[in-house]
């Protein structure tokens, strides 16, 4: 009977080998994935037991961890939740790090990032409690405050960039939320708050400035068309376009009127500059047909359409649609049909025009410091692409200045400072309701700040609000704060 016992011993050996392999698989190969899995309470507690890094604007914390007496040891506090909710995001024991920088820079804030390896090592050696890195932001508190206050209770979003560097000076999304309600240690209240936020039809957890369902850009997209026209070499600012009272969409009976039914030009031949100034629909619909969708898409992509971007939160790529028929092509010329943009992208277009045609990569984190306050990462402005030539940029700037001086964007004008801008009133759905846009920069001759503002329609049908009336004053407040930097 000894032979089968020996064979049985081999079976036992195989069984234990299987256990050794499975243990290795879980504890070595899969360990990192399992640790990072959402809802892993151990990782959450572990991160909570660490002094999570602060998020700072001009040296003042907008998110920081404070020691507590309970078992979670640290409580995440947001000092200005009404202003910075979408910038900070939230850090909840139950729901983890969500939205904003809390999510995008979780490993730095938690102190688990590879760049903090030596710091961790020295903490272990010196016996110091582990702690995360802090982030100093590019946000200008005055511009951010101006945007928040000007938007008020309206739904929408606002973004401000420094066109020369790509620094994000303001990023606001409305409605907001209070991240303190999610970081609280009263876990049942946290559950209720989270459920309420998720179920809220106004979707306050969406950062409308960089994501969500995206917006039709409306007339702000005419900047892209004008840029494409100038870059083609076949158009000058004073080239006359065809722009009558109405434009019949090719292949259909549908006629497209101008805004308010007005004529763009007494002769029905507005120049390119005039078309931008009065935001002429008929001439731009015609121009789209002349340029063709490939040229328009190419120009849009040069400004950043369709490309992933992380600021470090990821920005949903803006869309210029494919496979257009002639009628649809004409509609994209005025930023309708299926053109979709984030306010961030709209701001990048203005910023590129302001910066002699060069798009700078937007970024939100200026510096990363470890717990000893040593700078371990410092942002460098990076060129993303050249969107248009310097000459085209100058010509577009002139046109945009006229919009604010004499055209649809006069509400954005500042005393003593030249402002360049473009309004937009973007219809959505079939009821005629429209969102109000404004984008621009100032000073026009020495740009320091570029903005994009969208105010969502408050009603389901047309309430008479235009970009010039509703969005331009908000942009004005931001530009005013920005040029005084």
């Amino acid at each position: 009977m000894n032979t089968p016992v020996r064979r049985l011993a081999l079976v036992v050996f195989a069984m234990f080998t299987a256990l050794l392999l499975s243990t290795t698989w879980i504890q070595f190969v899969q360990a990192d994935d399992l640790r990072d899995r959402a809802g892993n309470r151990r990782t959450l507690i572990e991160n909570y037991s660490r002094d999570r890094g602060a998020i700072l604007v001009d040296g003042t914390p907008i998110a920081s961890s404070e020691p507590t007496d309970d078992e979670l040891e640290w409580l995440r506090r947001y000092q200005q939740p009404s202003r910075y909710a979408h910038v900070t995001g939230y850090y909840s024991f139950t729901y983890g790090a969500g939205l904003g920088l809390e999510r995008a820079e979780d490993s730095l804030l938690a102190g688990t990032d590879d760049s903090l390896f030596y710091q961790r090592l020295s903490d272990v050696v010196t016996g110091k409690p582990a702690s995360g890195a802090s982030l100093e932001l590019t946000i200008d508190p005055a511009v951010q405050a101006a945007a928040v206050e000007a938007l008020g209770e309206r739904r929408g979003a606002a973004v401000a960039l420094d066109p020369r560097t790509g620094e994000i000076l303001a990023m606001v999304s409305r409605p907001g939320f209070d991240p303190n309600a999610l970081s609280s240690h009263r876990l049942s209240a946290v559950d209720e708050a989270y459920t309420a936020l998720v179920e809220d039809p106004a979707s306050p957890l969406t950062n409308r400035a960089i994501g969500g369902d995206l917006y039709p850009p409306g007339s702000t997209f005419k900047l892209v068309l004008a840029a494409a026209a100038l870059e083609s070499g076949e158009y000058e600012p004073d080239t006359e376009l065809e722009g009558g009272l109405t434009y019949t969409l090719p292949g259909t009976e549908t006629t497209l009127p101008n805004f308010g039914g007005a004529a763009c030009d007494p002769e029905d031949r507005p120049t390119l500059a005039e078309s931008v100034q009065v935001s002429c629909n008929t001439s731009f619909a015609w121009l789209a047909g002349e340029l063709g969708d490939d040229a328009i898409r190419e120009q849009a992509e040069a400004f950043g359409f369709g490309e992933p971007l992380e600021v470090p939160m990821s920005v949903t790529p803006s869309i210029y649609p494919d496979e257009l028929d002639d009628a649809q092509l004409a509609l994209t010329g005025i930023g309708q049909f299926e053109v979709r943009e984030t306010p961030m992208q709209v701001a990048m277009i203005s910023a590129a025009i302001a910066n002699e045609g060069v798009v700078m990569t937007p970024y939100l984190v200026e510096e990363v410091r470890n717990s000893d306050l040593e700078v371990i990462e410092s942002a460098e402005p990076r060129t993303r692409a050249r969107a248009v030539s310097g000459q085209t940029a100058d010509e577009l700037t002139d046109m945009m200045e006229l919009v604010v001086q004499q055209g649809s964007g006069q509400a954005a004008a500042l005393p003593d400072v030249p402002v360049a801008g473009k309004t937009g009133t973007a219809e959505f759905g079939d009821s005629g309701a429209a969102h109000a846009w404004f984008t621009g920069f100032a000073p026009a001759d020495d740009p320091q700040i570029a903005v994009a503002v969208i105010v969502e329609s408050a009603t389901d049908n047309w309430a008479g609000e235009t970009g010039g009336q509703v969005a331009a004053p908000i942009a004005r407040a931001m530009l005013d704060a920005g040029v005084q930097r």
Binding site: L8, M15, A18, Q27, A31, R35, N40, R42
Partner: protein, 463 residues
């Protein structure tokens, strides 16, 4: 099997080492590791060393020392590794249970560890009683059918009204007043005794008669009886008590012993076929089996228990070197001190610690199988194989369930899990293995003479 009669030694007299000194040294090492682990846990979690910790260690050391003395007096030639291995495993189990008692916010033992220490005492005492009363394991063969009856009664006890109790969907427990017990744990010993006694008598019929098909010798239909009985017993456990683990354990035990007794691979084929059909049937019929399989394939499946997932996350948290004793969060996983105690070890001692634990088990099983090989009588061989294999299979089923080698089925982890019945049963298993190994390693000159047993054995050899 040849009858072994004492042969007079000729020229040289060989002194056989009893191994008791090595055992004592290893035992000191085992108790030392346990004591250090107790200290580490308390310093980490509580920040100081409460005096009751020293009581725990002292009592535990005394118990192990006592059992060692019993071996010196009653089983001088027993395998020297079995006792230290079981002691170390049992002691580490105590430490982990104690550690989980000390969850944050409830400092001070909540009593599970103390209860486990009492059970450890009872179990070790029972092992001593077995060693003292059972001078020769072959005596057990006389009680083959009584063991069978006992096994059945113990298995079916939880089905009785009033004393039977359903815990977590499985009807495995009996409760009399404040005292609850899992009789199935003891049943596996009774069943192993029965299988050994039964197979040693019928192995010839089972192995020699039959027809060859595809190169395998298949038994006659009427010889299939016992395996069918064992199979239906397993199915009965599965259906009536809804306990996958025990069912698997009993059937695996029987097939292994049958194979060793008959040396016929056909039994394994038959056994695996029966097992596979039973498993498929169970999967189709029972929703709790289905959900176990779902969780095995995808531990993060929505709307299912998150027990497997939590255990995996615990293991991942430990990583290679572990969080350190007292530094992890094993209490997040359900049954962290019983079914899932291995995950708790994996979290705090890491992959390295789990490897060490698995090695301890592998060594224990290996010593058991070595005892079987060294044993001179067929009954002792089969019993040693059966007992060691139950330990191996049980470790495989529970650790494999936690680490997703197989679907999770609730079984206790031998010596580690909190629970008296399991400790009692496993210490009795160790006592029996010690007894058999003592007989196997004893030099001929000191071999015990028992005319009645020797006569029975001779009669069998002549058959």
């Amino acid at each position: 099997m040849t009858a072994t009669s004492p042969t007079p030694s000729t020229v040289t007299s060989l002194t056989v080492r009893s191994g008791r000194t090595i055992e004592l040294l290893l035992l000191v090492l085992a108790v030392g590791i346990v004591a250090l682990a107790y200290v580490a846990v308390n310093l980490t979690v509580v920040g100081e060393l409460p005096t009751h910790v020293w009581w725990h260690v002292a009592v535990f050391a005394a118990l192990a020392g006592g059992l060692h003395l019993v071996l010196r007096l009653r089983a001088r030639y027993a395998d020297p590794l079995l006792l230290p291995l079981a002691t170390l495993l049992n002691g580490l189990g105590l430490v982990m249970i104690h550690r989980i008692d000390l969850v944050p916010g409830q400092l001070g033992t909540s009593g599970v560890a103390s209860r486990q220490l009492i059970w450890t005492g009872l179990a070790m005492a029972m092992a001593a009683v077995v060693l003292v009363l059972l001078r020769d394991h072959r005596v057990l063969r006389r009680y083959t059918y009584i063991a069978m009856a006992l096994g059945f009664v113990l298995l079916l006890l939880p089905m009785l009204p009033v004393i039977g109790e359903t815990v977590n969907g499985s009807r495995l427990w009996i409760r009399i007043g404040p005292f609850s017990f899992q009789p199935g744990e003891l049943a596996k010993i009774a069943v192993a005794v029965f299988f050994a006694g039964y197979l040693v008598s019928t192995r010839d019929a089972l192995s020699l008669v039959g027809r060859r098909v595809l190169g395998l010798q298949f038994p006659r239909a009427r010889d299939l009886g016992p395996i069918l009985v064992a199979w239906s017993l397993s199915v009965l456990i599965l259906v009536l008590q809804r306990d996958l683990g025990s069912s698997l354990l009993f059937f695996g035990l029987f097939v292994a012993m049958l194979y060793v007794a008959t040396e016929r691979t056909s039994w394994i084929v038959i056994g695996l076929t029966l097992f596979a059909s039973g498993a498929v049937l169970a999967w189709r019929l029972f929703s709790h089996v289905q959900s176990r399989v779902t969780l095995w394939l995808d531990p993060f499946a929505p709307d299912q228990s998150d027990q497997v997932a939590k255990g995996l996350m615990g293991l991942a948290h430990g990583g290679i070197f572990g969080a350190g004793l007292g530094n992890g969060y094993p209490y997040i996983t359900y049954y962290a001190n019983s079914d899932y105690i291995v995950a708790s070890f994996g979290e705090e001692l890491g992959m390295v610690g789990l490897f060490a634990l698995l090695m301890l088990y592998a060594l224990l099983v290996e010593r058991g199988l070595r005892t079987a090989i060294g044993s001179r009588d067929g009954f002792g061989k089969l019993l040693a194989v059966g007992l060691s294999f139950t330990v191996a299979l049980q470790v495989f089923v529970i650790v494999g369930g936690i680490t997703r080698v197989i679907p999770l089925t609730g079984l206790t982890t031998p010596f580690l899990s909190a629970g008296g019945s399991s400790l009692l049963a496993n210490w009795i298993i160790v006592a029996l293995l010690l007894r058999i190994s003592d007989a196997a390693r004893r030099p001929i000159s000191e071999r015990r003479q028992d005319p009645s047993i020797d006569a029975a054995e001779r009669a069998e050899a002549l058959r």
